[in-house]
């Protein structure tokens, strides 16, 4: 249900993106009004972040974490159900704002004051209440994950043997518990300013800067809340289809933790334009670039895993390889925007839009779809249509790059973000390519969704372990029984299924470390 709901919101957010791209297809276009455009890009960003990427990771986590650690279920199954219903309810509350007078929220997903304080109607109030509900869902889910992972691992499943995806969900959950309440607090103050006459965010006392600090103290870690489970998915897929052990398991775990820790220290790089003192600018710049080190370690380890491997380019691996390459493009443009002298020139331009779609767009499109193709047989008991999946992948790959790569050029040539139209015809060609790309991308995503729904009925029956994988979830039947496992194999390393295959082939058993 979690997956269906989040993919429904993904489709809604995607439709909004198509409307945005149609509007920007050429100069002086009037597909939607300026007011509607503001609502579209606000709700597109909010939907993709809060109703798709964050909860879809929880959806995968709910399903996979108990399986990967050999548990029967999550620690608090009812709390789990509550998290799901809160996600749905939060989404309904947020979208109900379209039906009220004044329309939906229109202050961007960042909702900076004073614009958000002054935004007319109740759209922004419903947006805030919706986010509070979604935040509560995330918090309950995060507490559930931490309890499950730390208290319910099967005998032998030490922390040092946990699959990388479960590690990533653990770090994701800790980050949500630390940062989520700060966002809730910032939104509460905003709600008070809008409705009860307080003035926390009034410009005269630098209130908007206070909001930005609180907002980005949450929202920068949230970048990693979204990205780290994606990294976990890639770390599961790459070794299986490279037919090799993961290169540098411990380095990958340490880099996950290092990224999470550093992620809490760099929020100011979103605020260079407010005019910090130079030492503070330098701190945020250096700390932001320091995140490149553990991120680089990850990319090095994935490439090291593939190096000299017998790679099988099954659909999940295609998505994983594409993710590594495209995420590196986002990482490289990240170095530019982390340097404050450059950021001051490109801030609020399409260069930033290109950057964050190569970083955060690759997670839902390539990591999540890669994960979906990888675990679909386990979840559904059916195999996807391989040929259709590969065709869809290439269409998505081409569409994604057509959509977002030209935005680098648009940004560098001065096109601002969050404007409903423009008058400069020099930007027409790149915008046209981007708009066509968005429709190509949408076609590919529709093919994936069709493949998933169609294969539920006609797909080949999936065996327990169709990929020759290593982690525990592939030991049980596809789909697993309600109690997950009839029996558990001995867990003596981070690859218990590999150990079993080795023993079956007559090799000595793994020793335990």
């Amino acid at each position: 249900m979690y997956l269906y709901t989040t993919f429904f919101f993904f489709a809604v957010g995607g439709l909004m993106a198509l409307a945005i791209r149609l509007q920007l297809e050429h100069a002086n276009n009037q597909v939607v009004s300026a007011e509607s455009y503001d609502r579209l890009f606000t709700m597109h960003g909010t939907t993709m972040i809060f109703l798709f990427v964050i909860p879809v990771m929880a959806a995968f986590g709910n399903y996979l974490v108990p399986l990967q650690i050999g548990a029967r279920d999550m620690a608090f199954p009812r709390l789990n159900a509550a998290s799901y219903w809160l996600v749905l309810f939060g989404g309904i509350v947020m979208y109900s704002s379209f039906l009220w007078g004044g329309g939906a929220a229109d202050a961007g997903w960042t909702a900076y004051p004073p614009l958000s304080v002054l935004s007319p109607g109740h759209g922004l109030d419903l947006w805030i209440v919706g986010l509070h509900i979604l935040g509560l869902a995330s918090l309950l889910g995060a507490i559930n994950f931490i309890c499950t992972i730390h208290n319910m691992r099967a005998p032998g499943m030490r922390l040092s043997r946990m699959p990388l995806f479960t590690w990533a969900i653990d770090v994701y959950a800790v980050m949500l518990v630390v940062s989520g309440p700060v966002f809730a607090g910032a939104l509460t103050l905003l709600l008070l300013d809008r409705n009860y006459g307080t003035s926390f965010y009034q410009p005269a006392t630098h209130g908007p800067i206070l909001y930005q600090h609180l907002f980005w103290f949450y929202s920068h870690p949230v970048v990693y809340v979204m990205a780290l489970p994606g990294f976990g998915m890639i770390s599961e897929i790459v070794p299986v289809f490279s037919r090799k052990p993961l290169f540098g398991y411990k380095a990958l775990v340490y880099s996950l933790v290092a990224i999470a820790f550093l992620g809490f220290l760099v929020w100011g790089h979103h605020m260079f334009a407010v005019g910090f003192s130079t030492p503070l600018q330098v701190w945020f710049m250096v700390a932001s670039m320091a995140i490149g080190v553990p991120t680089g370690v990850k990319i090095f380890n994935w490439i090291g895993t593939m190096w000299m491997g017998r790679i099988r380019f099954e659909p999940p691996m295609l998505y994983a390889v594409a993710f590594v390459g495209l995420f590196m493009i986002g990482g490289l443009s990240g170095i530019f925007v982390a340097a404050f002298p450059i950021d001051l020139y490109v801030t609020d331009s399409y260069f930033v839009v290109a950057h964050f779609h190569y970083v955060l767009g690759t997670v839902p499109v390539f990591a999540v779809l890669g994960g979906l193709h990888y675990w679909y047989p386990k979840m559904s008991g059916r195999m996807l249509d391989r040929a259709l999946a590969i065709r869809a992948f290439w269409i998505i790959f081409v569409g994604f790059n057509m959509t977002f790569f030209p935005m680098h050029d648009l940004g560098l040539s001065g096109m601002p973000r969050r404007v409903s139209t423009y008058t400069n015809h020099a930007w027409d060609a790149a915008n046209l390519i981007s708009t066509i790309g968005a429709f190509v991308l949408a076609t590919g995503v529709l093919m994936v969704l069709w493949n998933c729904l169609h294969s539920l009925r006609v797909g080949r029956i999936a065996p327990a372990d169709p990929w020759g994988a290593n982690s525990l979830e592939w030991y049980t039947s596809s789909p697993p029984p309600p109690h997950n496992f009839d029996e558990l194999p001995p867990i003596r390393s981070e690859r218990p299924l590999y150990d079993l295959r080795r023993e079956a082939a007559g090799a000595p058993a793994a020793t335990g470390d």
């Binding site: 208290n151 989520g180 209130g207």
Partner: protein, 38 residues
């Protein structure tokens, strides 16, 4: 059903995390009050 010690460990950890989250929320409100009115 979970065995009693595991259920108890889960509850204790969940409670600690919930209290931590509540303190972070209250701390944020306090920062807002102090910055604006302090």
């Amino acid at each position: 059903m979970l065995d009693r010690p595991t259920a108890q460990r889960n509850l204790t950890l969940a409670l600690k995390l919930a209290i931590f989250a509540a303190l972070m929320f209250a701390g944020t409100l306090l920062v807002g009050v102090l910055v604006r009115y302090g």
